[in-house]
């Protein structure tokens, strides 16, 4: 769905295999300051001005009223207490809970699991037919196109008019009256998650298909010879053997959910009311539509905090590889 495949997990093999060899003969023994500075200067300047400095600024601004985006009155944790008492952000008082952060939880649970399940089933089943590559390409196409285009495609499918919206036209065949998929608080999140799933299954299929194919043939064959059913092969052999790629994929999809913005903004603008907001949408809305910069910064910091465990995990994992 035009999502960036977030580089959640560093590539393993090339680094590990190469580091030792590279260390042995990595340039002259003496540090070469001149080259280092010249080659790193453009990246360094941009990283400092566009990432490092803004991140620190935003963290500080989240403790400030931040009128107009500049430092004014310091308010301590006020932005955060207001944020977490805002029912549009998180409302645990009702059942089911609601709010933008809760919607992210719904996305994480239903989007991630459905994408992985469908990706796995499609990759295993497509491997049995000759037109496997075609199926994978068809499912993968939505990854190439913009979330904005995806949103238009599905707004059209969901249109309430039975002469326009395919889904309601199908329902009318069974004499079911049209459903306002994007206008009903009770169904809007499910409808959006379905679009997200449609957009991402191709990604999962391609990754898991490669993983399934790397399972040694003999293992599956010997299980079949011993009389294992296809179901047993799937659940007892294939799934356990691709559990690492599945967890990598899950992390990537969760990161995508936390950054999810374009699709929601174009399809529903967080509506009806505030029913389909997600955290990245709230950040944009508070900062740039409501002009609440301190408050918007607090939302951005919450996004960062949610991602920190994954960042730490990545850096740790990467460091253990780099220093072997």
């Amino acid at each position: 769905m035009g999502l960036a495949p977030t580089p959640a997990v560093p590539q393993e093999r090339p680094i590990r295999a190469s580091t030792k060899a590279a260390r042995r003969a990595r340039g002259p023994e003496k540090p070469n300051y001149g080259s280092a500075i010249l080659f790193l200067l453009p990246a360094g300047v941009l990283l400092i001005v566009f990432l490092l400095y803004p991140t620190l600024y935003t963290i500080l601004l989240s403790f400030n009223r931040g009128r107009n985006g500049v430092f004014g009155t310091w308010v301590g944790l006020d932005n955060y207490t207001r944020l977490f008492s805002d029912p549009d952000f998180l409302n645990l008082g009702t059942f089911p809970p609601s709010g933008a952060l809760w919607n992210n939880v719904l996305w994480i649970i239903f989007y991630t699991s459905t994408v992985i399940a469908l990706g796995l089933v499609i990759s295993v089943i497509a491997a049995r037919v000759r037109y496997e590559a075609l199926i994978k390409a068809v499912v993968f196409v939505p990854m190439a196109i913009a979330a904005t285009a995806l949103a238009v495609i599905w707004k059209f499918v969901y249109a309430p008019d039975v002469n326009i919206g395919l889904l309601n036209a199908l329902l009318s065949v069974f004499a079911i009256s049209p459903i306002s998929w994007l206008g009903d608080q009770a169904v809007v999140n499910a409808a959006l998650i379905a679009v997200g799933v449609w957009g991402s299954v191709g990604f999962a299929t391609v990754i898991l298909s490669a993983a399934v194919k790397s399972i040694p043939n003999e293992i599956i064959e010997s299980a079949r010879v011993e009389g294992a059913s296809e179901r047993a092969v799937f659940f007892r052999i294939i799934i356990p053997m691709v559990s690492l790629p599945i967890s990598v994929l899950a992390v990537t999809l969760i990161v995508n959910v936390i950054k999810l913005f374009d699709l929601i903004y174009v399809m529903t603008a967080g509506g009806p009311g505030t029913a389909s907001r997600v955290i990245a949408f709230t950040m944009y809305q508070q900062a740039f539509q409501a002009g609440q910069y301190g408050y918007g910064s607090a939302v951005a910091v919450v996004m960062l905090i949610v991602l920190i465990p994954i960042i730490v995990f990545n850096v740790r994992r990467f460091r253990t590889q780099a220093v072997t």
Partner: protein, 298 residues
């Protein structure tokens, strides 16, 4: 033929009953995959057909009603011309090309330093770059806009394209550097050593050895970055503030909020947005998938 399919063929059942069961299973497989293909093709196909139907027909009957299908290019003419989509298309090109070439150049340079130049704290610095891989762009929006507005008001960066070029470039760096460094570091050390013994400077090693042998990987990353920028809406919302510079994603968003049910315009507009990524996808599929998957699988 896939490994799994060969396995299947190798253990073909022998009794007639088992063969019947296998045939049934196989038709279940075909039906399932046909269903998958339908679900993944029909929504896009519907919009494609709609983009060629006259407005009055769209309002009257569904696109699946192919009995009296009439086609026209009028919608594309309208959206390109009076809705300014041609202009927006050019803006998208004008945003995407520098926002692809700049990161390619800057990431290659930095990745070379991180893999083949010796200097203190190299690994620490690289880990800091890796740390920024997942930092959400949202944490940078407010300070950058404030910076452009208060410190550099005369440059009017958000009024032109400079702000979005720089923003796309900067936010691409952690991933680009990470990816290219992992590729450069796999080059054989002997090759680089030999060049250095011959007296080649780092610049020459970079230009004449590292870059030429890494072209496929750099191309895969370039395609990924190009499509990422082409498809972006969020950064354009924040960093492009003059509406004559709006890219297609913003133009379509505007169409949608102005004429939410004018499907003849929306369908044609959406396809104009999709056409370049689709061409890239179908012509460079291998590179494309590689680039897209580069960071996430082993």
């Amino acid at each position: 033929m896939s490994a799994l399919a060969e396995t299947m063929a190798g253990s073909r059942p022998r009794t007639p009953a088992a063969r019947a069961v296998a045939a049934l299973n196989h038709s279940v497989v075909h039906v399932f995959l046909a269903l998958v293909a339908v679900i993944w093709l029909v929504p896009t196909l519907g919009l494609l057909v709609t983009s060629y139907r006259p407005r009055s027909d769209i309002q009257a009957t569904g696109w699946w009603d192919i009995v009296d299908l009439r086609l026209t290019l009028e919608n594309y003419r309208l959206v390109l011309d009076s809705q300014g989509m041609l202009h927006a298309f050019m803006n998208t090109v004008f945003i995407a090309v520098p926002s692809t070439l700049l990161p390619l150049a800057i990431c290659s340079l930095a990745a070379y330093a991180f893999s083949w130049v010796r200097f203190p704290f190299r690994d620490t610095l690289f880990l800091i770059v890796v740390t920024f891989l997942l930092v959400p762009v949202q944490v940078a929006f407010i300070p950058l806009l404030t910076l452009f507005r208060d410190v550099l008001p005369d440059l009017d960066l958000t009024g032109g394209f400079v702000a979005i070029w720089l923003a796309h470039t900067a936010f691409a760096l952690p991933f680009g550097i990470f990816l290219l460094r992992n590729i450069f570091i796999t080059l054989p050390p002997d090759m680089i050593e030999a060049a250095r013994l011959d007296g080649a400077s780092d610049w020459r090693v970079f230009r004449q050895i590292v870059i030429p042998v890494s072209v496929p990987a750099i191309a895969a990353y370039g395609i990924f970055q190009f499509l990422w920028v082409w498809n972006d809406l969020l950064m354009a919302l924040v960093f492009v503030q003059d509406n004559k510079n709006f890219p297609m994603t913003r133009a379509i968003q505007n169409l949608l909020s102005q004429y939410g049910t004018e499907w003849h315009l929306l369908a044609a507009g959406a396809f104009l947005l999709m056409v370049v990524p689709l061409i890239v996808f179908f012509s460079l599929q291998r590179y494309f998938v590689q680039g897209l998957l580069a960071g996430s699988i082993k």
